[in-house]
């Protein structure tokens, strides 16, 4: 379908973008458009104004702030993917990006756009959650930084106030001594995940897990941390028995949602448990491997 009509505003600065957003309550931000335009093309979303932020210079950069990668709202997945510094410094992000759709989508799609779109089946929100990352927001009331834990409140429901703009994200990288993995299950390469997991395991000097983050996506109304599993992992030796036990409880307390077309809740649990076990295995091997390097 053709989209409903809208006014187009190309913002050169964040101020201009904010002014345009505030001017109309049905204004929406256009960055990559790879998530927004398809739903507009089904007329499921009919914004009155699209505020294009892709030319705002201040939003087009990414860089390192200590262990954290900061990514401006107009930075595309492709730019991040092709930056060798990102590959070296944040291999988990690089790997996660490679799972998203296809290169032609990543060419325009933005990391921050994916966060703001808050699709429960998307990879990047889950990554942010597993990384204890933050979304950087600016609005009429000023700037704020929202923890991933608070940002995803429901399907396609980011915790943004009217007139607020996501200007960037802070995505902490796993430590060199940590293990990590990201796995997803889909019917075809590049499709939305039926179930996916981002896993970060920190290891202490005693070779035991000091911190665990297991973020599930595609299974609930938002990305969700598998806390019972995380708790079992912390303090464990990350050997097979410990990983088996953690995987077995990874869906405890998670309200798993299924659908008629792609997969039932029961399937997501079953296959997801196997997927999580596989992901834990990779992450644990990476962690213990790097400990002994």
């Amino acid at each position: 379908m053709k989209t409903a009509p809208f006014r187009y505003v190309r913002a050169e600065t964040v101020e201009q973008a904010l002014a345009a957003l505030v001017s109309d309550e049905d204004a929406r931000v256009l960055a990559g458009g790879q998530s927004l335009v398809p739903i507009m093309a089904l007329r499921l979303s009919t914004p009155s104004v699209l505020v294009d932020i892709t030319r705002c210079t201040e939003l087009r950069s990414h860089g390192w702030d200590g262990p954290d990668l900061t990514v401006g709202a107009a930075v595309t997945d492709r730019v991040l993917e092709r930056d060798p510094e990102v590959g070296r410094g944040h291999p988990l992000l690089a790997r996660t990006l490679s799972l998203i759709a296809h290169p032609e989508i990543r060419a325009r799609g933005t990391l921050c756009g994916s966060l703001a779109h808050a699709d429960p089946a998307a990879e990047l929100p889950a990554l942010l959650l597993a990384s204890d990352g933050h979304v950087l927001v600016r609005g009429p009331e000023g700037s704020r930084s929202i923890a991933a834990e608070q940002f995803f409140t429901g399907p396609f429901s980011p915790a943004l106030q009217p007139g607020e703009l996501v200007v960037g994200a802070r995505v902490p990288a796993p430590r060199r001594t940590s293990g990590w993995s990201v796995e997803e299950l889909s019917r075809r390469r590049g499709d939305f995940a039926i179930v996916g997991v981002v896993c970060v395991l920190d290891v202490g000097d005693d070779d035991r897990c000091s911190r665990a983050r297991l973020s599930l996506f595609g299974v609930a109304s938002t990305p969700v941390r598998a806390r019972p599993a995380e708790q079992l992992l912390v303090g464990s030796d990350l050997q097979d028995d410990a990983l088996d036990a953690a995987a077995a409880v990874c869906f405890d307390g998670v309200e798993v949602l299924g659908d008629e077309v792609h997969a039932s809740a029961a399937y997501r649990r079953r296959a997801g448990t196997a997927l999580v076990r596989r992901a834990l295995g990779s992450a644990a091997r990476l962690a213990t491997g790097s400990r002994h390097d």
Partner: protein
């Protein structure tokens, strides 16, 4: 004949360069002066009465020319019925826009004409339709119950057609059998989903009273007839253009109500109108296929010989029997093809085709064969397991051998030629031990189960007039081609039937060049304008290699004969003593006596003073060819799959095809048809299904929900050809366009069950969902 025959050569397709350069002319590529654009308001309920339609807000939208309902169109176009003369078949009258009642989500209700598609859609949103929603009929078995709501009140039943098929004493066969195996199989609703969606540009000249319709269709002359009939125009006033069609696969062989509505509107308004479908509409309103529930049993002796076969087939026809091929063909094929390439002495089948509130079921590549072959091959594998025989061995004991031919099946199909058993042996060889061992190692490394599946089959191709014409449908089975030698010796070929990517231009040029004795490069082929070309059959049921190539040959033979009569006069020799090759005519045995085709053609046009006054000077002839009533190709497919027991995902890791479709005109084109067909079959086996919610709302209306196979899903497909010339066709060819799709769902599914059976599990539903695999594995423990 030319020195090296073009027949059998892997020539590049002459159609390709312009498509590669982006200069195709698909319907949406073409504009006209004063063109206006159409969008539809479609039903949002699966079943309902239209209480009220308010078009006033839509009409007021700037840029809108007209907003039309069924009442507006009725005076200009009557309804039609998708009825064939199957005994007892019932079908309701369908109109271009829904009249009073809607019967599936996506049915067109209101047509909006505006300056652009976008504006037309804006206006369409402003149309208000009040429906009284009625309970939707979604289960074809429940639909036969006495209490079921009716899809068509005036029919008094949801049963479209019911019939037994088969012959022989099935009771006795089953009573005498040592082993009986049963299956209950469900194949899911599919849709063709060609990359180019449907579309039409229609314009009506009020002075001439001529109608021109450019349409993405595989049956232009059929549409020419139908437009003329419905609009009360003489056929010589209707012109149908099909320049480039981006895939059809049987789906584009119908009179669609939305397309007809555009055509009717064009006669009412003083502008050319264009409508091209979007994918959402396509996935909701294109004809669909493969929605069958089959219960079947196979009876065998202790040494594995088939005594009898039984099946009950329920085919979910959707809301309409589409005109003119109807919704019955698929179910009939499922029932009649099922015995396959095996010696089956007795077969009894019951078919019921049932209406429901879904988009109509019609014909889609391999029509009915995939479910039929699937059921039979699943039965064979169950029997093999029960008898302790390998899948290949059981087939070996039952496949038709050359000495069995001609063989008349229990459903009246005559198999006069083929390599049924040989195709199996070759397929087995293509999966050699070393290869399989490597696959096993890989599977083990990945923690997956490995399965191998075979599917042996026959496939109906190029059925004749008995199929449709004799049943009352205005569908031509024979084809016509015109061949003309121009004054300069170049050759023009006009194809009655245009293609949608099968390389019909190229194969026709190969046949004409061989038959006429000219060079392939000197032959230009045109198609796609009913005003210019002879009346053709359209593309359907894999007929082109038989009837289109046959017609090209017939026409070329006539022209060749005339050419040689004229040349003989110029040589002062006898026509029988002349040969034509590569554009040169020579007297056999007299090397010096040579003349170019060009010279003779010039004489036939301007130099007739050199020719006898009563000679036939015209080097332009139309040939036709009907072929035999039908011809059957045969083949065996072999699939190797990995099944991941943790996730239920299935991957096809190897695929081999042995195909016998008689003589091959262009092996590369045939290979392309087979590979494309296998990919579609793979889609059906593992990915594709149309899903409705309990209210009849389609849930698969985007390409992220209706899953087509991608390059990562389809493996390399190895192909071996056996060329057993067809004894009954003029070139020895048989059709093959659908064969890949016919065998693939069975081969893949049998491979999955082979993998699962190692742990005592099976699945009997397609597509094979990961969930079904996990359920089967859990049930087996």
């Amino acid at each position: 004949m030319s020195a090296v025959p073009y027949l059998g050569q892997r020539l590049r397709k002459s159609e390709d360069p312009r498509l590669l350069m982006g200069r195709g002319r698909f319907v949406d590529d073409v504009t006209e002066t004063r063109l206006a654009h159409v969008a539809f308001v479609r039903s949002v309920v699966a079943s309902g009465r239209i209480l009220h339609v308010d078009t006033s807000a839509a009409e007021a939208v700037r840029g809108v020319f007209a907003v039309l309902t069924a009442e507006d169109l009725a005076p200009h176009c009557p309804g039609w019925r998708g009825l064939l003369s199957w005994p007892g078949m019932v079908a309701a009258e369908q109109t271009a826009l829904a009249t009073g009642v809607v019967r599936h989500v996506g049915e067109p209700v209101v047509l909006v004409v505006a300056t652009s598609r976008a504006v037309a859609e804006d206006a369409a949103e402003a149309v208000v339709v009040d429906y009284e929603e009625l309970p939707a009929v979604l289960d074809p078995v429940a639909a036969l119950g006495a209490d079921s709501p009716l899809v068509h009140e005036d029919l008094g039943t949801n049963l479209c057609f019911g019939s037994p098929f088969g012959s022989g004493d099935v009771e006795a066969a089953f009573a005498a059998a040592d082993t009986v195996v049963d299956v209950q199989v469900r194949t899911s609703r599919h849709t063709a989903a060609p990359m180019e969606m449907r579309g039409v540009v229609a314009s009506f000249d009020r002075d001439d009273r001529t109608l021109t319709v450019r349409v993405s269709s595989q049956a232009p002359q059929m549409l020419q007839t139908l437009y003329a009939q419905l609009l009360g125009l003489p056929e010589n006033s209707v012109r149908v253009l099909t320049e480039h069609v981006g895939g059809a696969f049987g789906m584009k062989a119908f009179l669609y109500p939305d397309e007809m509505a555009v055509v009717v509107a064009a006669t009412m308004l003083d502008r050319p109108l264009k409508w091209t479908q979007d994918r959402y509409e396509a996935l909701q309103s294109d004809t669909q296929a493969r929605d069958e529930r089959v219960t079947a049993s196979l009876a065998l002796t202790a040494d594995g010989r088939i005594c009898g076969l039984r099946s009950e087939v329920v085919s979910d026809a959707g809301a309409w029997s589409m005109y003119p091929r109807s919704c019955v063909t698929e179910g009939v094929q499922v029932a009649t093809i099922m015995p396959g390439p095996y010696r089956v002495p007795a077969y009894g089948s019951t078919l019921r085709v049932v209406y429901t509130n879904k988009a109509p079921l019609a014909v889609y590549r391999a029509v009915g064969h995939p479910p039929a072959i699937l059921v039979m091959e699943l039965l064979m594998d169950e029997a093999a397991r029960a008898l302790g025989l390998s899948a290949a061995e059981l087939r070996r004991r039952n496949l038709l051998r050359p000495e069995d031919l001609p063989y008349t099946s229990t459903t009246g199909n005559v198999y006069d030629s083929g390599s049924h058993l040989e195709s199996l042996e070759r397929a087995v060889d293509m999966l050699d031990e070393e290869r399989l061992a490597e696959h096993r190692r890989e599977a083990e490394r990945r923690g997956c189960l490995l399965g191998v599946g075979f599917a042996s089959f026959i496939e109906l191709s190029a059925p004749g007039a008995m199929f449709y014409g004799a049943k009352g449908a205005p569908i031509t089975a024979h084809d016509q081609v015109e061949v003309a030698i121009e004054p300069d010796g170049s050759v023009t070929v006009l194809l009655g039937t245009p293609g949608q990517g099968q390389g019909l231009h190229t194969t026709a040029a190969q046949v004409v060049a061989d038959t006429l004795g000219v060079r392939f490069e000197d032959v230009r082929v045109l198609s796609g304008d009913t005003r210019l070309v002879p009346h053709g059959s359209g593309v359907w049921a894999s007929r082109s290699a038989v009837v289109s190539a046959g017609a090209a040959r017939s026409a070329a033979l006539v022209v060749r004969e005339r050419l040689l009569v004229l040349a003989a006069h110029l040589f002062e020799a006898a026509p029988e003593d002349l040969d034509v090759s590569a554009g040169t005519i020579a007297v056999r045995g007299v090397p010096a006596a040579q003349m170019s085709v060009r010279e003779v053609a010039a004489a036939a046009h301007w130099g007739t003073h050199r020719l006898p006054p009563d000679a036939e000077y015209s080097l332009d002839a139309v040939g036709s060819y009907a072929g035999p009533p039908s011809t059957f190709n045969n083949g065996t497919h072999a699939a190797v799959v990995e099944v991941d027991p943790a996730t239920g995902l299935v991957r096809v890791v190897d695929y081999a095809v042995v195909e016998d479709c008689g003589v091959l005109i262009n092996p590369d084109i045939v290979d392309g048809q087979i590979r494309g067909g296998v990919a579609q079959g793979l889609g059906g086996a593992l990915l594709e299904r149309v899903v409705h919610d309990p209210a009849g709302q389609p849930q698969t209306s985007t390409m992220l929900d209706y899953l087509l196979p991608t390059a990562a899903d389809v493996p390399d497909i190895r192909i071996q050809h056996i060329e057993t010339p067809a004894p009954t066709t003029s070139l020895g060819t048989k059709g093959v366009g659908e064969a890949g799709t016919a065998g693939a769902p069975a081969a893949i599914h049998c491979a999955v069950n082979d993998a699962l059976s190692t742990v005592g599990a099976r699945v009997f539903r397609q597509p094979v969902l990961p969930e079904d695999v996990l359920d089967a594995l859990a049930a087996a423990h």
